[in-house]
């Protein structure tokens, strides 16, 4: 709180107003708490009261199996984190380059532009899991030299191809959202197309697309589990192994909890950035 300005003595009317506001905010706080408790109790009652509950509890919420699976699933999860951390910067680079290629107007660049359009059309259209299959099994089958054999690396390539197309579109939307007058101002100062892009348009575009980009990355974090389909021992794969040996599905719950632990902070960070930029615009 900042100190009150000189010469201002709070009037009796203002003090009465603040008392009423305080009372009202206490009341809304208690209503929110009470209704939350009621909802939780109702949900718990509906679940545990259902006829199949004992069976479900046994197969999904077995604390013994939970403890047993945790170390393996956790070590598998570290691979998910690694795939995510390597794929994310690659996706940003691919996405930005493709978006920039689509803005090129000179005739020499026509093939590049066409390629960029084809790339985004194809990889946004094909389900991520299919891209992972095609890259994971198809790419090594070509027998080309230099193609990595490591399954996790192939997974990173597939995720980069798939998400690169989405992120390219996000960047392109950002670039398009910079007002034409900014182009006019930069070009009139003698800046070339490339320099206008680099110094004027892209910096403004990137700032605008940070929240949607983070949203795509929340989605990427959980899609790293799709890489399980081609075999590397990440969290979902480890959970599958445990589940199939005991016919108990609790290991899946372990994996799900780990993914939530990773994505929730990212989601909250996205919210925070969105609120911040809104506040800034309101200034």
């Amino acid at each position: 709180m900042t100190a009150p300005p000189d010469g201002w003595v709070k009037s009796e009317r203002q003090r009465e107003r603040e008392r009423l506001r305080g009372r009202r905010s206490i009341r809304s706080g208690s209503i929110a708490t009470a209704s939350t408790v009621v909802v939780i109790v109702l949900l718990a009652w509906a679940f545990t009261g259902s006829p199949g509950w004992p069976r479900v509890r046994e197969t999904f919420f077995d604390s013994e199996r939970f403890a047993e699976a945790l170390p393996d699933v956790l070590s598998g999860f570290l691979l998910n984190v690694k795939i995510f951390l390597i794929a994310e910067p690659l996706i940003l680079v691919v996405g930005l380059l493709v978006a920039l290629a689509r803005t090129l107007r000179a005739p020499v660049f026509f093939p590049l532009r066409a390629l960029a359009v084809a790339y985004t059309d194809v990889f946004r259209g094909v389900p991520t899991i299919l891209v992972i299959y095609l890259v994971g099994f198809g790419l090594p089958a070509l027998g080309l030299r230099g193609v990595p054999a490591d399954l996790a690396t192939l997974g990173v390539i597939a995720l980069t191809l798939s998400y690169g197309a989405y992120v390219a579109e996000v960047f392109r939307a950002g670039i398009d959202s910079v007002h034409p007058s900014q182009w006019a101002a930069a070009r009139s100062l003698g800046l070339t197309h490339g320099k206008t892009m680099r110094h004027v348009v892209v910096p403004q575009a990137v700032r605008r697309v940070v929240p949607p980009l983070l949203n795509d990355f929340v989605s990427l974090q959980k899609d790293t589990a799709l890489v399980a389909t081609i075999g590397p021992l990440e969290a979902l794969r480890q959970a599958q192994i445990h589940a199939s040996s005991t016919f108990n599905y609790t290991p899946y719950l372990v994996a799900a909890l780990l993914f939530i632990l990773l994505t929730v902070p990212m989601a909250r960070f996205t919210d925070y950035l969105a609120v911040r930029s809104q506040r800034r615009r309101g200034r």
């Binding site: 007058s181 900014q182 006019a184 101002a185 930069a186 070009r187 009139s188 100062l189 003698g190 800046l191 070339t192 320099k195 110094h199 004027v200 910096p203 403004q204 700032r207 200034r283």
Partner: protein
């Protein structure tokens, strides 16, 4: 020889002609003021001169070179001109200093130190020395427009184009912007400006041109245009904007 020669320029938008064969010549150190109703083609003419619009017919020569030629290097031509817009168009993600030094550094290859030194000099000259580190949205409209003019000047252009630079400002801020234009004139800058400020136009212009529906209808000294216009359309326009003070 004139610095800029516009000959028979046409500009069409969707079947409607905004400029219909405009001729205009501007000598070195001359200040030309374009007046006319909204939609008469004043801004379009400036945008054509800056090559932000391509002309549909006619030619424009700058320092004897035809800049409307197909093969002309547009970026090189623009380096010799500065343009200031009604809406300032400062770069919001850059400080005032970076806005001003962007073109000198990235286009003209001036070193950072020299560019910044020159920028600070210009800022100090126009009473904005303390704003070098501010961002555009922290400045008033008048300050932003002065920065925009300084940004256009920083590349030492041979011709300045000022498009309604005071129209987005309230009267108190108009004065500070007009002050800077006055100084430019004293420094011998060649300028073409469009404005609704008739008093200022009369004071600063060497030549006043009246555009009417895409045609340059009348050209003369401010004295002649404002007191004794030849064309009835000019007279009618001045009456409508000046009221009793008109001719």
């Amino acid at each position: 020889m004139s610095l800029l020669t516009v000959e028979g320029v046409w500009k069409n938008y969707r079947g409607h002609s905004v400029l219909r064969g405009v001729d205009l010549s501007v000598g070195a150190h001359e200040v030309v003021c374009l007046i006319g109703a909204s939609g008469s083609g004043k801004s379009t003419l400036l945008r054509c001169v800056n090559l932000l619009e391509t002309v549909d017919d006619g030619t424009i020569h700058l320092e004897g070179e035809e800049i409307t030629a197909v093969r002309v290097d547009v970026d090189e031509v623009r380096r010799r001109m500065g343009i200031v817009f009604q809406a300032f168009n400062l770069f919001p993600h850059m400080t005032v200093l970076d806005n001003i030094t962007l073109a000198p550094r990235r286009v003209h290859g001036v070193g950072r130190e020299r560019a910044e030194h020159h920028a600070r000099e210009l800022l100090a000259r126009f009473g904005l020395a303390d704003k070098a580190g501010s961002y555009p949205d922290q400045l008033s409209g008048g300050q932003q427009q002065r920065v925009a003019i300084i940004r256009a000047m920083a590349t030492r252009p041979r011709l300045m184009l000022l498009d309604e630079v005071t129209s987005a400002l309230d009267p108190a801020l108009v004065r500070e912007v007009l002050g800077i234009i006055r100084e430019l004139r004293e420094g011998g800058m060649t300028m073409i400006l469009t404005t609704h400020e008739m008093g200022f136009c009369r004071e600063i212009a060497d030549t006043v041109c009246f555009l009417d529906d895409g045609v340059l209808l009348e050209r003369g000294t401010p004295e002649q245009i404002f007191t004794d216009p030849r064309e009835p359309r000019t007279r009618a326009f001045l009456r409508s904007v000046l009221g009793d003070r008109g001719p």
